[in-house]
Symmetry: C2
Protein backbone atom coordinates (compact mmCIF):
# COMPACT_ATOMS: atom_id res chain seq x y z
CA UNK A 1 0.00 0.00 0.00
CA UNK A 2 1.15 3.52 -0.78
CA UNK A 3 0.48 6.32 1.67
CA UNK A 4 0.70 10.05 1.29
CA UNK A 5 1.46 11.35 4.77
CA UNK A 6 0.99 15.04 5.57
CA UNK A 7 2.58 16.31 8.79
CA UNK A 8 1.23 19.68 9.94
CA UNK A 9 3.19 21.96 12.27
CA UNK A 10 1.32 24.12 14.78
CA UNK A 11 -0.55 26.97 13.08
CA UNK A 12 -0.89 30.47 14.56
CA UNK A 13 -4.64 29.95 14.91
CA UNK A 14 -5.32 26.25 15.58
CA UNK A 15 -9.09 26.71 15.79
CA UNK A 16 -9.32 28.32 12.33
CA UNK A 17 -6.86 25.77 10.95
CA UNK A 18 -8.85 22.75 12.14
CA UNK A 19 -12.15 24.27 11.01
CA UNK A 20 -10.74 24.82 7.52
CA UNK A 21 -9.21 21.36 7.52
CA UNK A 22 -12.54 19.77 8.40
CA UNK A 23 -14.92 21.91 6.35
CA UNK A 24 -12.89 22.69 3.23
CA UNK A 25 -9.78 20.53 2.93
CA UNK A 26 -11.23 17.14 3.94
CA UNK A 27 -14.03 17.28 1.32
CA UNK A 28 -11.42 18.06 -1.38
CA UNK A 29 -9.19 15.16 -0.25
CA UNK A 30 -12.14 12.75 -0.26
CA UNK A 31 -12.60 13.42 -3.99
CA UNK A 32 -9.15 12.09 -4.92
CA UNK A 33 -9.64 9.23 -7.42
CA UNK A 34 -8.52 5.91 -5.95
CA UNK A 35 -8.34 7.13 -2.35
CA UNK A 36 -9.01 4.09 -0.19
CA UNK A 37 -8.97 5.73 3.19
CA UNK A 38 -8.20 9.00 4.93
CA UNK A 39 -6.89 8.62 8.49
CA UNK A 40 -6.48 11.67 10.71
CA UNK A 41 -4.07 11.43 13.62
CA UNK A 42 -4.69 14.33 15.96
CA UNK A 43 -1.50 14.72 18.00
CA UNK A 44 -2.09 15.17 21.72
CA UNK A 45 1.46 15.03 23.11
CA UNK A 46 5.12 14.29 22.55
CA UNK A 47 6.00 11.03 24.30
CA UNK A 48 9.09 12.59 25.88
CA UNK A 49 7.29 15.74 27.07
CA UNK A 50 8.56 18.15 24.40
CA UNK A 51 6.31 20.54 22.49
CA UNK A 52 4.83 18.26 19.80
CA UNK A 53 6.52 18.80 16.43
CA UNK A 54 3.16 18.42 14.65
CA UNK A 55 -0.49 18.95 15.55
CA UNK A 56 -2.00 16.75 12.85
CA UNK A 57 -0.86 13.85 10.70
CA UNK A 58 -3.11 12.98 7.76
CA UNK A 59 -2.65 9.66 5.96
CA UNK A 60 -4.11 9.06 2.54
CA UNK A 61 -4.09 5.37 1.59
CA UNK A 62 -3.87 4.08 -1.98
CA UNK A 63 -3.84 0.45 -3.10
CA UNK A 64 -0.67 0.64 -5.19
CA UNK A 65 1.80 2.96 -6.90
CA UNK A 66 -0.18 3.23 -10.15
CA UNK A 67 -3.37 4.24 -8.33
CA UNK A 68 -1.36 6.75 -6.30
CA UNK A 69 0.26 8.27 -9.41
CA UNK A 70 -3.10 8.65 -11.12
CA UNK A 71 -4.47 10.40 -8.03
CA UNK A 72 -1.53 12.80 -7.96
CA UNK A 73 -2.02 13.69 -11.63
CA UNK A 74 -5.76 14.35 -11.24
CA UNK A 75 -7.56 17.70 -11.36
CA UNK A 76 -8.94 16.83 -7.92
CA UNK A 77 -5.39 16.78 -6.56
CA UNK A 78 -4.67 20.16 -8.14
CA UNK A 79 -7.54 21.53 -6.03
CA UNK A 80 -6.12 19.82 -2.91
CA UNK A 81 -2.66 21.29 -3.56
CA UNK A 82 -4.04 24.77 -4.19
CA UNK A 83 -6.01 24.68 -0.95
CA UNK A 84 -2.96 23.38 0.95
CA UNK A 85 -0.89 26.32 -0.31
CA UNK A 86 -3.43 28.65 1.29
CA UNK A 87 -4.47 27.51 4.74
CA UNK A 88 -1.32 25.47 5.44
CA UNK A 89 1.39 27.55 3.75
CA UNK A 90 4.72 26.74 5.39
CA UNK A 91 3.11 24.27 7.80
CA UNK A 92 2.97 20.98 5.91
CA UNK A 93 5.61 18.33 5.23
CA UNK A 94 4.21 15.76 2.78
CA UNK A 95 5.87 12.36 2.43
CA UNK A 96 5.29 9.34 0.21
CA UNK A 97 5.69 5.96 1.90
CA UNK A 98 5.23 2.24 1.36
CA UNK A 99 3.25 0.84 4.26
CA UNK A 100 3.32 -2.66 5.69
CA UNK A 101 1.48 -4.11 8.66
CA UNK A 102 3.94 -5.98 10.88
CA UNK A 103 2.74 -7.90 13.90
Amino acid sequence: MIKLIALYRKPDDPEAFFAHYRDVHTPLVRRLPGLERLVLDRVTADAFGAEPAYVLIAEMHFADRETFKNAMRSKENAAVAEDLGGFARGLATVLIAEATVDG
Copy 2:
Protein backbone atom coordinates in the same frame (compact mmCIF):
# COMPACT_ATOMS: atom_id res chain seq x y z
CA MET B 1 -7.95 4.62 18.81
CA ILE B 2 -4.67 5.81 20.29
CA LYS B 3 -1.49 5.68 18.24
CA LEU B 4 2.10 6.04 19.24
CA ILE B 5 3.85 7.42 16.15
CA ALA B 6 7.63 7.27 15.89
CA LEU B 7 9.23 9.42 13.19
CA TYR B 8 12.84 8.44 12.39
CA ARG B 9 15.27 10.88 10.78
CA LYS B 10 17.92 9.56 8.39
CA PRO B 11 20.62 7.59 10.23
CA ASP B 12 24.30 7.68 9.28
CA ASP B 13 24.13 4.00 8.31
CA PRO B 14 20.64 3.24 6.97
CA GLU B 15 21.43 -0.41 6.28
CA ALA B 16 22.52 -1.10 9.88
CA PHE B 17 19.61 0.96 11.18
CA PHE B 18 16.97 -0.96 9.25
CA ALA B 19 18.56 -4.32 10.10
CA HIS B 20 18.48 -3.46 13.81
CA TYR B 21 14.93 -2.13 13.49
CA ARG B 22 13.76 -5.37 11.88
CA ASP B 23 15.76 -7.93 13.88
CA VAL B 24 15.89 -6.37 17.35
CA HIS B 25 13.48 -3.46 17.75
CA THR B 26 10.42 -4.92 16.02
CA PRO B 27 10.37 -8.09 18.18
CA LEU B 28 10.54 -5.90 21.32
CA VAL B 29 7.69 -3.68 20.10
CA ARG B 30 5.54 -6.73 19.29
CA ARG B 31 5.68 -7.73 22.97
CA LEU B 32 3.96 -4.54 24.19
CA PRO B 33 0.81 -5.56 26.08
CA GLY B 34 -2.34 -4.40 24.29
CA LEU B 35 -0.60 -3.60 21.00
CA GLU B 36 -3.23 -4.07 18.31
CA ARG B 37 -1.12 -3.42 15.28
CA LEU B 38 2.29 -2.20 14.20
CA VAL B 39 2.34 -0.38 10.87
CA LEU B 40 5.64 0.53 9.24
CA ASP B 41 5.65 3.36 6.71
CA ARG B 42 8.92 3.27 4.80
CA VAL B 43 9.35 6.76 3.34
CA THR B 44 10.38 6.80 -0.31
CA ALA B 45 10.18 10.51 -1.17
CA ASP B 46 9.09 13.99 -0.20
CA ALA B 47 6.06 14.95 -2.29
CA PHE B 48 7.60 18.34 -3.12
CA GLY B 49 11.01 16.94 -4.06
CA ALA B 50 12.90 17.88 -0.89
CA GLU B 51 15.15 15.49 1.03
CA PRO B 52 12.61 13.48 3.08
CA ALA B 53 12.51 14.65 6.71
CA TYR B 54 12.14 11.03 7.89
CA VAL B 55 13.08 7.61 6.55
CA LEU B 56 10.64 5.56 8.62
CA ILE B 57 7.36 6.20 10.42
CA ALA B 58 6.24 3.46 12.82
CA GLU B 59 2.67 3.44 14.12
CA MET B 60 1.69 1.43 17.15
CA HIS B 61 -2.09 1.10 17.50
CA PHE B 62 -3.91 0.70 20.83
CA ALA B 63 -7.65 0.36 21.35
CA ASP B 64 -8.02 3.17 23.88
CA ARG B 65 -6.17 5.46 26.28
CA GLU B 66 -6.25 3.01 29.19
CA THR B 67 -4.71 0.20 27.11
CA PHE B 68 -2.10 2.64 25.83
CA LYS B 69 -1.19 3.83 29.33
CA ASN B 70 -0.81 0.26 30.56
CA ALA B 71 1.47 -0.51 27.64
CA MET B 72 3.63 2.54 28.37
CA ARG B 73 4.00 1.52 32.02
CA SER B 74 4.98 -2.07 31.20
CA LYS B 75 8.39 -3.67 31.58
CA GLU B 76 8.17 -4.56 27.88
CA ASN B 77 8.05 -0.83 27.07
CA ALA B 78 11.08 -0.18 29.26
CA ALA B 79 12.97 -2.60 26.99
CA VAL B 80 11.64 -0.81 23.88
CA ALA B 81 12.72 2.58 25.24
CA GLU B 82 16.15 1.31 26.21
CA ASP B 83 16.72 -0.13 22.76
CA LEU B 84 15.48 3.11 21.14
CA GLY B 85 18.01 5.11 23.13
CA GLY B 86 20.76 3.00 21.59
CA PHE B 87 20.23 2.43 17.87
CA ALA B 88 18.07 5.54 17.34
CA ARG B 89 19.65 8.06 19.70
CA GLY B 90 18.82 11.55 18.48
CA LEU B 91 16.89 10.21 15.50
CA ALA B 92 13.38 9.61 16.80
CA THR B 93 10.47 11.96 17.43
CA VAL B 94 7.68 10.05 19.19
CA LEU B 95 4.15 11.44 19.25
CA ILE B 96 0.89 10.35 20.86
CA ALA B 97 -2.22 10.83 18.73
CA GLU B 98 -5.93 10.11 18.61
CA ALA B 99 -6.74 8.54 15.26
CA THR B 100 -9.98 8.64 13.32
CA VAL B 101 -10.83 7.24 9.92
CA ASP B 102 -12.54 9.92 7.83
CA GLY B 103 -13.91 9.12 4.39
